[in-house]
Symmetry: C2
Subunit: 336 residues, 2 copies
């Protein structure tokens, strides 16, 4: 159906994992750019753990997605029409364009991107929000320094894979936690981490002793739950725990797991600090420049897990929570 | 029995609340100061929540008290004999002299004190470790600033009472949490807090809404447990949670309560940081000078809960955990 704009709208607030009836699939007309607007044709949309939080009601760092609204999502695409100074048809852009094929934008929060430097979808991953999250989280909140031991959960994921690589660039030891032998092999052999622990292994608790025998200086947490407690049990004096996410807990229908070993913060004069990447919007340019430089020098690797077809959005999103994705999860919504 | 040294030694590692059989009462001979030693006659010993942690086995910021050893405790007393340069008979001193009437010391960690400036027991409270804990915890870890709302639990206690008073000196709002109407009245009417919430009241959760309607910038936590979660639910952007203690949890025989709302650290870019006052030993002089200055100017009030008789130590210690003490808990061990 040419000229239509396929969208996913939020139909209900999920309880636990989002299910089919929480979504409404709509084929709307492609809108027309008015004064001070541009029309963007999305190529790829970004599927991220944070989206689960945006579906809940309640006070947070950003307003929840309204019932009936197009689901919020980062995306990259091409400008097809523009009544906005600074943007012209043919420009490639990234922004919060939502789970849809076409988006109107007033240019707020939109960046022009250069597909000749890196594949377009990279701007949703290593050169996009996940890259910036790893960069500011590790360097600013985690204050990593040479010789530190950095532990990161979700080590094969979009953010975690970069945290470990940046830690290595900064002269620290990088130890990852990931689910399964394949992901762990990738983290060590391809990404260059010093070690990776498979949390699905029966010997996980035994396996972590050797790589963490000198303790943890920075723990970058993407998962929450018991793994956070396991890390807190091994922190060094003045350790920094960076709370980036808690994906193990986002679909809980029971109360969130509270880390019992938080009292080790007292014992070791350590801190646990949270952040969201939007706090760093004024420094994005610095982050992108550093990440692109390392990428250009071959020091950073990005891995994309690409799925195809906007119709598949509800099912593909669930891969984040089952851990089925391997690399940054991206959905191609442009139709060839 | 003149010339004897009554002591309490640790007989067993307690499970839950320390009980009579965890202690051994000993009447030893008064020791003689050898080369490089002095003999101190204790007047007052300090009873503090941290003592419960020192009785447990395991890695912490300080070695556990050994089975059979005199129980570790801060104390103030008078030098009765000295073979140490810098200390002479008649000097008043504070140090970690233990639950006993006489202590040998090599001078490590011992400070001379001036009983003409403040009553001797004050050097176990407002001008001692609790005062320094409040000072460095609020100013250094909590980074309090003018206009902040500071919430402090254990507000009628040795540390909490000072935290609120120092917050007021620094131009912040001080809201306390304490157990019972008497303590709350003292915190507001005598200490000058802006409000105090009685956690034993059935209307506690309702009562805290008004004083905390603008959110919490600094939460100084002495108690842990559910109150920590209640505070985390109300933090402002860039809030600082100072983990000073968790007295509600020290005698648990079940796992410690983990704060489920820790994820609010992420949402509000906030941090939770722990410390023990021993981390600041190099800055004690700065702290004592400031505290003594405010005390001399009438800006700080100290309240001592004095009990008498070294024989009563095991029972008196338990008052800390039942909340029966009202002010800094001190045991007089000198016999008139």
């Amino acid at each position: 159906m040419p000229g239509m704009n396929k969208q996913y709208r939020l139909a209900a607030r999920p309880v636990g994992l989002p299910k089919a009836s929480d979504w409404e699939f709509v084929e709307a007309e492609v809108p027309v750019a008015g004064d001070g607007q541009m029309l963007v044709k999305n190529h790829y949309v970004s599927l991220d753990p944070a989206m689960r939080g945006w579906m809940n009601e309640g006070r947070s760092y950003i307003a929840p997605v309204g019932i009936g609204d197009v689901m919020r999502a980062g995306a990259v695409g091409e400008v097809v029409a523009s009544n906005l100074p600074g943007f012209a048809a043919g420009d490639f852009v990234s922004g919060t364009f939502g789970i849809q094929q076409y988006a109107l934008s007033d240019g707020q929060g939109v960046s022009k991107i250069d597909p000749s430097l890196a594949p377009l979808e990279t701007y949703l991953g290593g050169l996009g929000m996940p890259g910036l999250t790893a960069y500011f989280g590790l360097l600013d909140v985690g204050a990593v320094k040479e010789g530190d031991t950095v532990l990161v959960s979700g080590a094969a994921g979009a953010v975690g894979s970069l945290v470990g690589q940046i830690a290595k660039i900064k002269g620290a030891r990088a130890v990852g936690i990931a689910g399964g032998a394949d992901k762990c092999a990738y983290v060590v052999d391809e990404l260059g981490f010093d070690a990776c622990l498979d949390y699905k292994s029966e010997t996980f608790l035994k396996d972590l002793k050797e790589p963490l025998k000198s303790g943890i200086d920075v723990y970058f947490d993407n998962v929450g739950g018991e793994i956070l407690d396991i890390a807190l049990a091994r922190i060094n004096r003045h350790a920094r725990i960076v709370i980036c996410g808690a994906i193990s807990q986002y679909n809980n229908t029971t109360p969130m797991y509270g880390p019992r070993n938080y009292i080790n913060l007292l014992v070791h004069h350590a801190r646990m600090e949270g952040f969201v990447v939007f706090d760093y919007v004024s420094r994005y340019a610095e982050g992108v420049k550093a990440l692109a430089g390392w990428y250009g020098d071959g020091k950073l690797q990005f891995r994309t897990h690409m799925e195809t077809g906007i119709e598949n959005f509800p099912d593909v999103l669930l891969k984040l929570f089952s851990g089925e994705n391997f690399g940054k999860l991206v959905l191609k919504v442009i139709e060839d």
